[in-house]
Every structure is written in C-alpha cells, then in structure tokens.
Subunit: 209 residues, 2 copies
C-alpha cells in the first residue's frame, strides 16, 4: 500500500465518519461522502466494497471514541467523591466536543441490535464498578452501584442528547442552554454526592423492600 493509498483511504474514512455521524446509515448518501472527500463515488467501492462495510468500519471507530473515555478514567488514589467530580468534568467536556456521538450510537444500535456485540467489549464494566464501590468516606452498598452508575451517565448524557428540545424549553424560562450546561458540570456532581452523603444505606433499604 503506497502513501497515496493511505491518504485517499483516510480522506474517505474521515468524510464517511462525518456524514454517518450526522445522518445515520439510512439517510447517508454515498454521493455525499464522495463529495466531502473530494473524490469520485466509484472510489468508495474500490476501498470499502459496499456502503454497509464502510459503515461498519466507521461505527467501530466511533464506538471506540465513545467508550475510550470510560476505561481507566479513574485514578486509584482518588476518593469516590473526586472520581465523580472528575468524571462529570471530563465526560461532559468530551460530549460538548462530540455532541452527535451518543445519539448516533443509540440510534444505530436500536436499528440493528447486532451492533451491541461490536461495542460491548470496549467497556470493562466490572472494573469501573469495582472502582466505585470502595471508599472510606462514603459507604455505597454493592447492589446500589449499578443504579449509581446509570444515574451518573444519565445526568451527563441526556442534556446533550436532548439539546434541541432542551434549548427551546429553557429559552421559554429565560435560561441560556450553554450557560445551563456549564452550570451542570458543577451541579451534577454536587447533586449526586449530596444524595450519597445523606444516607445511602437508607436508599438501599427502601430499594429492597
């Protein structure tokens, strides 16, 4: 493979990534991808054979980008409180730079459930779980850890996923969306930690009734 090959293939791949992420598999057009890459439509098939194969390559790369942020994000010496603050700061910052990524992944996975297998291996859920369960200051019951994790990612993901809607609704109450998101990076960890510090064992009891 020569140097020019690599450059062209890369140009195609980058263009395809943008188009697929923006429009999804169904609405994306091979012509649009070729145009954005500045080459001919036939070249797409020369390098990637079919739309489906090109999409799969792009999906794998985007899934990698999405879940890279989770693996090993926590330093061992952090307290749970520090870990939670650190996560919101890093994760929401990442999402603001990749606002279309979460909805792309969720939509495509919903359309084709087989895609779950392609990304489920990318996140070591057991490791992350173990890093949230042990702490000296805050006692988190084992059974609560999944709920805590889902709560944290929900609070981080949802305001980005629902941006157009949320922006319009906030506007009606006189709040600016970007300002809201900035506040949220502070509010979200405060809120979660406040709930945990209050009485996490009480949460457990009520949960198991």
């Amino acid at each position: 493979m020569t140097k020019e090959d690599k450059q062209t293939e890369q140009k195609i791949f980058d263009a395809a990534t943008e188009i697929f992420e923006e429009k999804g598999l169904d609405a994306a057009r091979m012509q649009d991808i070729a145009d954005r890459a500045g080459i001919n439509k036939a070249l797409l098939h020369y390098y990637f054979r079919s739309k489906e194969k090109l999409f799969t390559a792009v999906f794998d790369a985007l899934a990698e980008r999405m879940f890279m942020k989770f693996a090993g994000i926590f330093e061992e010496e952090m307290s749970v409180e520090e870990k939670i603050r650190y996560f919101f700061r890093k994760h929401m910052d990442f999402l603001q730079k990749n606002p279309r990524l979460p909805l792309f992944i969720l939509t495509e996975v919903n359309r084709n459930p087989k895609l779950v297998d392609r990304l489920i291996g990318k996140v070591n859920i057991i490791q992350i779980k173990s890093k949230l369960s042990k702490d000296k200051d805050i006692d988190i019951p084992e059974e609560l850890v999944p709920h805590l994790m889902v709560t944290i990612v929900s609070m981080s993901f949802f305001p980005i996923i629902a941006k157009p809607l949320l922006k319009a609704l906030l506007q009606k109450t006189g709040v600016d969306y970007n300002h809201f998101i900035k506040e949220r990076i502070q509010f979200a960890p405060d809120f979660v930690i406040s709930a945990l510090k209050n009485n996490s064992s009480e949460l457990k009891t009520q949960n198991n009734e």
Copy 2:
C-alpha cells in the same frame, strides 16, 4: 366523508405510526406501511398526498402522546416529595409501554430542527416549573428548579433510551434489565429526594461560585 373513509384513513394512520416510530422517516417505506394497513400503496397518496405529509401527521400525534404525560401531571395538594415519586411511577410506566417513543422524537428532531416548533407548544414548562418550586418541607432555590427537572427526566428517560446497551452491560455484572428498571422506579425518587433533603441551599452556593 363516509364511514369507510374514516376507517381506511385510520388504518393507514395507525400503520404509519408503527412503521415510522420503529424505523424513522428515512428508513420507513411506503410499501411497508401499505402492507401493514392491508391496503394498496396508491391509497396512501390518495389520503395523505406524500410521505412527508403522512410523517408530519404521525409526528404530531406521537409528540402529543409523549408530552401529554407532563402537562398537569401534578396535583396541587401534593408535596414536592409526593410529586417526584408520582412522576417517576407514572412516567417510567408510560415509557415501558412506549419504549421507542423517546428515541424517535429525539432522532427526528435532530434530523430536522424545524420539528421542535411543532412540539414546543405542547408542554407548559412555566406551569410545571412553578409546581416544583413551592414546598413546605423542602426548600428549592429558584435557579435550581431547571436542573432538578432535567435531572429527573434524565433519570427516567435514559435507561429506556439506552436499553439494548444497558441490558448487555448489566448482564455482564449479573443483573437482569427488567429487574433493574423495576428497582429504579423506587430508587430514582429516593435518590433525588435524598439529595434535596440533605442540603439544597448548599447546592445552590456551590453552583453559583
């Protein structure tokens, strides 16, 4: 318009609702809709002129279904705590019966931002906000109410939206998805109320630093 007209139009509309909700505008096929309605493809155009017009009608109806649940959901005489528990119970129950609805709305709005205008009027955000801000037991600062609302809907929506992914991840830790959702209807309000009772004025201070 005769009785048969109404029946056929309704059959088409119901079939279109199912197909569009499942596949989205781009992937939906007029032939699929005709098949599901048990009629001919040409009849779709007789009643709705174009795919776009049929879609818009369906979108409006689904947006209505989605946001009906918000308007006037709270009884005046409830405490904030009761309102929060009531919301999670009703809303997550609704989402379990309409699991594809949220992602449909979010995806289509993202694809075509003009759709926001069609649903923004359906939810009286000012009214909902006012119903959450006044309470005798829990003091919630005015500026925190939007964050509280977004937190609540995030916790309710996200586990449903991310079902395929979440199901696979939970399985790796030995947790059943349906059981998790059942638990969550109890956990989510407990968690939110725990955070609020702990120290909501402290949240405010840290938020505005």
